[in-house]
């Protein structure tokens, strides 16, 4: 800051009086302390630091006798240091106050909505298939796939579902026109078993997730297009005990540490065949009115079994060397059980509010 020099004050030495100097220091400290803002502090600095009695006292030293200069200089220096320190202290305090005030003033309402871009989400059917697939991949299995428009031979004949087999009547199938052209929409993921056995060499450990079709009308519990995941293992020495082991692992990955129980069943593509229930993961059998299991304590998982020798023969794998097992599970059923999806229509209608609830997790 530049400007005309202020006129020199008269030098009479009174400002060097110890009492006067003390009073001046005191007055300066008080003025700084009382300065409420930077403007007040500036005025106080002018009055008590840049000018004022202490500055005056320093000027008066020159008028003293040489022998007195040292003592007076020391006192004035100390006084000056005290006043400057008080000033700087006050500057720091005022700056801290100002900074704190600005941060408060800059505060916002963090509860306002923030989403300027729509949020995306994956479909829980895909997420569930991915999750289950990962369980198998982690065990060293591979993922196999096949077409959705499939040959009848792969979908039925090779799976020991002959034209006259009662099991073939259980499934109502979409046929590609003309109906005797040998093509259908696959009714299960099992043709992927056949394709795997035709194209791979044992040991085979594959899991096949995918879309399947049956001519059911859409309602709360049925959909003509749905999803399954199927596991197939072909190796030497595989037994039903391995089948149970794989199923148990699968159930634990999906529903937690629950027990399973098995009973005999029938499927054309397996012999022996097995039906598995797992313990209700909600009540573990402890609640007679449990809505998850209906109070039975058990939930039906689905069918499985040792791969029928006829399948091995039809795909050129020696049934006297290799044995295998297979099991499957409905993805929509998993969603019903794990995620409380009550109405099948929600899964298929494509309402973004359905997928949106899942984000990337299931």
């Amino acid at each position: 800051m530049s400007g005309p020099r202020p006129p020199s004050l008269p030098v009479d030495g009174s400002a060097l009086e110890p009492r006067a100097l003390d009073a001046a220091v005191h007055a300066a400290l008080t003025a700084f302390a009382e300065a409420g803002d930077f403007e007040g502090l500036k005025a106080a600095r002018l009055a008590h630091l840049d000018k004022g009695p202490v500055a005056q006292a320093r000027r008066e030293i020159g008028a003293l006798a040489a022998e007195a200069k040292a003592e007076a200089g020391k006192r004035v220096g100390e006084a000056m240091d005290a006043v400057r320190a008080a000033y700087l202290g006050r500057v720091e305090a005022l700056e801290a106050e100002r900074d704190a005030r600005i941060l408060i003033e800059e505060g916002v309402d963090v509860t306002v909505p923030t989403g300027r871009r729509p949020l995306g989400a994956r479909h829980p059917v895909e997420l569930t298939m991915q999750r289950l697939t990962d369980v198998f991949v982690a065990m060293g299995w591979e993922v196999a796939e096949g077409p959705e428009v499939e040959s009848e031979w792969m979908n039925f004949d090779a799976l020991n579902i002959g034209k006259d087999h009662p099991a073939r009547q259980m499934q109502d199938t979409f046929f590609v026109d003309p109906p005797d052209g040998g093509l259908v929409l696959r009714t299960h993921t099992s043709p992927v078993q056949i394709r795997s056995m035709l194209t791979r060499t044992p040991p085979i450990y594959v899991v096949a997730p995918g879309k399947v079709f049956r001519t059911d009308d859409l309602d709360a519990t049925h959909t003509p297009v749905f999803h399954q995941i199927e596991a197939l293992a072909i190796d030497t020495g595989l037994t039903m005990a391995h089948l149970r082991g794989a199923i148990d692992h699968f159930v634990r990955a999906m529903f937690g540490d629950v027990k399973t129980r098995v009973r005999a069943s029938y499927f054309p593509f397996t012999e022996p065949s097995m039906e598995t229930d797992f313990q209700c993961f909600v009540c573990r059998g402890a609640d007679d009115s449990c809505r998850m299991c209906g109070g039975s304590g058990w939930i039906e998982l689905g069918g499985s079994g040792m791969v029928n020798r006829k399948l091995l023969i039809a795909t050129g794998i020696d049934p006297d060397i290799y044995s295998g097992f297979a099991f499957g599970f409905g993805i929509e059923r998993a969603l019903q059980l794990r995620n409380g999806v009550g109405d099948m229509r929600d899964i298929v209608e494509g309402d973004v509010r359905f997928s949106g609830q899942f984000g990337m997790a299931v």
Partner: protein
């Protein structure tokens, strides 16, 4: 299969104090699944009543309500008030004088419903008149039970008001409903279920009394009714009928009712009592699993001849339907001429037993399961008989079953047995199977001792010949088990009887898994990239309408018009398989819009079906006795149409939402293209963009996305306004469709890193005026090429059209970033490079710097 517990207890010793739930549990352990448990929770009084008076009133809701007085014998209001029972009833299917079933106050119906007197429609109703479903007899709730119709005139005639209806209708006992798997035909009988229960109890000696063994059955003779078995067109070399037993009873009283115990067992088993002759055949069928047919003997004139149908032959079956027969249908005929019955499926109307029938011929035959199954399916006719024959009936039980029926007819119908007993038996014994006794253990994973295996097989009824040396024994399965043919079948039986619960749990350990394939990983990357940009995944049905290609505005020669057609679509409105995912994604978009969603960004990853032009898509169906020849497998694969995996995405409304911060930004063609670019970038696949025209996009706002080598990846842009109108979608919907298989293949190689410089960057901007026809991409490419290798990037950052320019011109502003790999560029160098680029643009496009 419905199994009355009291009946079961006659055939096999139940565990002490076993109730329905316990029996069900035991049967589950041998693989018979419980579907339901009925009864056992009804308590009376439930009695027979006769309707005395009916006063019908139409209620305000238009529904008729009947106030009835019912004679219930010495029960209820007769005892307390000296009057007939006053009951309010909502059904109208009965008349004064009808016998009905009355539940009196104090009774408890299935499900624990306690009945009490209560005020209904303004009057006291002292109990209720019951429908079938209320008593757990079936699903029927169309009206109340009228006993003369339910039990038949003759049976109803024997009833008196006040009779106990619990006993009459068999309501008191528990009935187990089991689901029987298709391989176990023998379990469609009490005989089979009793045997299985016996196995579940460890097959204790003497505890199972086989009703299929009838000790006093006289041997067949040659004096019986003439029967000829012929078969001109055997199916797969199997005779349509290989055994036919015919027995005759004369002089049955046509009015004789079935005994009440037969009626109540039939009712419990879910069948209606009809008449003595019919009830007896049904009863024996339920007991031993042999379907029987009763002919009115007096309607027959010639021998019973079993043969295949002739072309255009017709038969009116018992259900009143006239059926045109197929040459593969097996028939029972009168003298070879007149068709009497569809063998093993249903009888005909002409020879039906009626209320005047006195002489009856009982048929107990064995038919080929395949033949019966085909006939049943061909005529869409499933009967109790066809259900059993399809799954296999014990061929040895026919004569005993016929005798049981004859016996009951004589005992309860007062008839006399004809001395003749026909049994044409062409059945042959099956070959014994050489079973390796170690197989069950090896397949199941439980160490079954040899003795245990043989013991179980014998319990099952197998004849086991054990030479005592080596592991192989010969096993002849019992005649009721046609399903036991191969080693694993016997292994399952051993595991089943020994107990599936003994199978341990051992996790298999594959050793060489290679993880997800590249294609499988790509799908996850694509989906995740889109979700990160705000897109929501949906899954739609892949079915489209006949006119989908017209709706989407495809030109006549568009290959996407060639679609696979379903022979039996769910809806005639959607008989084709989609050829693009966008075909069906738009449906989901429309549904969301109609549900009030405005700002939408959706995608679907899925297969589309692309039949090859000219291919018939007819797949061979080879046999399964060996691996098909490689050429056959190849022709199956060739017949299956190509099904590439596609991605479709669509946007509507705002891409950036409106809010307190200000207005939103409407989704534009560029958002669809940007999403595709993001997918390509996520896979590190370089793509190029050029303008194109492609349905269903706006002809001026459609981008073709290609790989650098020109391979088509897909299209993106705004949809054609006319298409949007036809689809019922809002204006300006934008969309993209790409072939995921193409970008999968393009991203298969590892990403190669290009070196990048850490020297300072020099930025310089140029604004160039060009004709509208010059595209941004062409300008960018020209500038980048001319700027040389030191140009790190050339990016369009502004487009200006307006008064400072001539009509038909635009100004494109680019920012050029220069960077050398090894030094700081000088201002002069940068200017020279920029000027060179501008000069190139001037020369190539007539671009003038603004």
């Amino acid at each position: 299969m419905r199994v009355p517990l009291s009946w079961l207890a006659e055939l096999v010793d139940l565990a002490p104090a076993a109730r329905g739930a316990d029996v069900a549990q035991s049967l589950v352990s041998v693989g018979l699944e419980e579907e339901a448990l009925h009864g056992g929770d009804i308590t009376g009084p439930i009695v027979v009543g006769r309707v005395l008076t009916v006063e019908e009133q139409i209620q305000r809701n238009g529904k008729p309500i009947r106030f009835c007085a019912v004679d219930v014998g010495d029960h209820g209001q007769r005892l307390t008030d000296g009057i007939a029972q006053q009951i309010v009833c909502g059904a109208t299917n009965f008349d004064v004088g009808d016998l009905v079933v009355v539940v009196l106050p104090g009774a408890v119906l299935p499900g624990g419903f306690m009945i009490s007197a209560r005020k209904t429609y303004g009057r006291m109703s002292n109990g209720m008149i019951c429908a079938e479903d209320e008593l757990g007899l079936g699903e029927d709730h169309s009206g109340i039970i009228v006993l003369s119709r339910y039990l038949g005139q003759s049976a109803a005639a024997a009833l008196t008001p006040g009779d106990d209806a619990i006993e009459l209708l068999g309501l008191g006992g528990e009935v187990l409903e089991l689901s029987v798997t298709p391989d176990r035909g023998y379990c469609f009988s009490m005989r089979g279920i009793a045997r299985e229960y016996w196995h579940s109890q460890g097959s204790p000696a003497g505890a199972f009394r086989d009703p299929g063994i009838v000790p006093d059955n006289p041997p067949a003779n040659l004096n019986g009714y003439a029967v000829h078995l012929t078969d001109g067109t055997m199916i797969d070399g199997v005779r349509g009928c290989d055994r036919y037993v015919a027995r005759i009873v004369h002089g049955i009283d046509p009015n004789a009712p079935s005994p009440s115990w037969v009626q109540s067992r039939l009712t419990q088993a879910g069948m209606r009592p009809i008449s003595l002759a019919v009830d007896v055949t049904n009863y024996v069928m339920l007991l031993v699993g042999q379907p029987l047919h009763a002919f009115d003997l007096d309607t027959l004139s010639g021998s019973i001849t079993v043969r295949r149908a002739r072309p255009d032959e017709r038969l009116t079956t018992l259900d009143g339907v006239e059926r045109v027969l197929h040459p593969d249908d097996l028939l029972i005929t009168d003298g070879g001429k007149i068709p009497l019955a569809l063998a093993g499926v249903m009888g005909g109307a002409t020879s039906e037993v009626t209320e005047t029938t006195t002489n009856v011929l009982i048929e107990a035959a064995h038919f080929d399961p395949v033949s019966v199954a085909r006939t049943s399916r061909r005529h869409r006719l499933v009967s109790e008989a066809s259900k059993r024959f399809e799954r296999g009936v014990d061929p040895r039980v026919a004569d005993d079953a016929a005798h049981l029926a004859v016996d009951l007819l004589v005992r309860y119908g007062g008839g006399t047995v004809d001395a003749g007993a026909t049994d044409v038996d062409l059945t042959t014994s099956r070959a014994a199977y050489p079973l390796d006794v170690t197989l069950p253990g090896r397949l199941v994973g439980v160490d079954y001792p040899r003795a245990r295996v043989l013991d179980i097989l014998r319990q099952l009824g197998c004849t086991v010949d054990d030479p005592g040396l080596g592991d192989t024994v010969t096993v002849l399965p019992p005649t009721w088990r046609p399903d036991l043919v191969d080693g694993p079948d016997f292994a399952e039986e051993v595991a089943r009887i020994d107990g599936y619960d003994r199978i341990p749990s051992v996790l298999p350990t594959p050793s060489d898994g290679r993880g997800l394939t590249h294609g499988q990983s790509v799908r996850r990357i694509v989906a995740d990239a889109l979700v990160g940009r705000g897109f929501t995944e949906v899954l739609t049905y892949p079915f489209v309408a006949d006119d989908f290609a017209d709706t989407l505005g495809m030109p006549p020669e568009d290959p996407r018009r060639s679609a696979i057609r379903l022979a039996n679509p769910l809806s005639d409105n959607a008989p084709l398989m989609r050829t693009s995912v966008l075909d069906t994604l738009v449906d989901a978009l429309r549904r969301n819009v109609s549900r009030g969603q405005r700002d939408l960004a959706m995608f679907e990853l899925g297969l589309v079906t692309r039949p090859s032009p000219g291919s018939s898509h007819t797949a061979p169906v080879p046999g399964v006795s060996r691996r098909p020849a490689e050429a056959t497998i190849a022709s199956i694969d060739a017949a299956v149409p190509a099904q590439p995996r596609h991605l479709a995405l669509a946007l509507a409304g705002d891409a950036e939402l409106a809010g307190w911060w200000g207005p939103g930004r409407a989704a534009a063609w560029s958002d669809a293209l940007d999403a595709v670019q993001a997918v390509a970038a996520a896979l590190s696949v370089p793509v190029t963009v050029e303008a194109t025209e492609q349905a269903p996009w706006h002809p001026g706002r459609c981008a073709r996305i290609s790989l650098v080598d020109g391979t088509l990846v897909g299209h993106a842009g705004e949809l054609h306004p006319a298409v949007l109108t036809r689809l019922g979608l809002p204006a300006r919907v934008c969309a993209a469709e790409i072939d995921v298989d193409v970008i999968t293949a393009a991203s298969a190689e590892p990403v190669r890193l290009a070196a990048f410089s850490t020297q300072p960057v020099a930025l310089t901007d140029v604004a160039l005026t060009v004709q509208e026809s010059v595209t941004a991409a062409a300008m960018q490419a020209c500038l980048a090429q001319a700027a040389g290798p030191l140009a790190e990037s050339v990016v369009l950052f502004d487009v200006y059209r307006g008064e400072q320019l001539e009509a038909g011109q635009k100004s494109l502003a680019f920012r050029l970033a220069f960077r050398a790999p090894d030094r700081t560029l000088t201002t002069e160098e940068v200017s020279r490079l920029r000027d060179g680029a501008v000069a190139a643009a001037a020369e190539r496009f007539g671009a003038a710097q603004r």
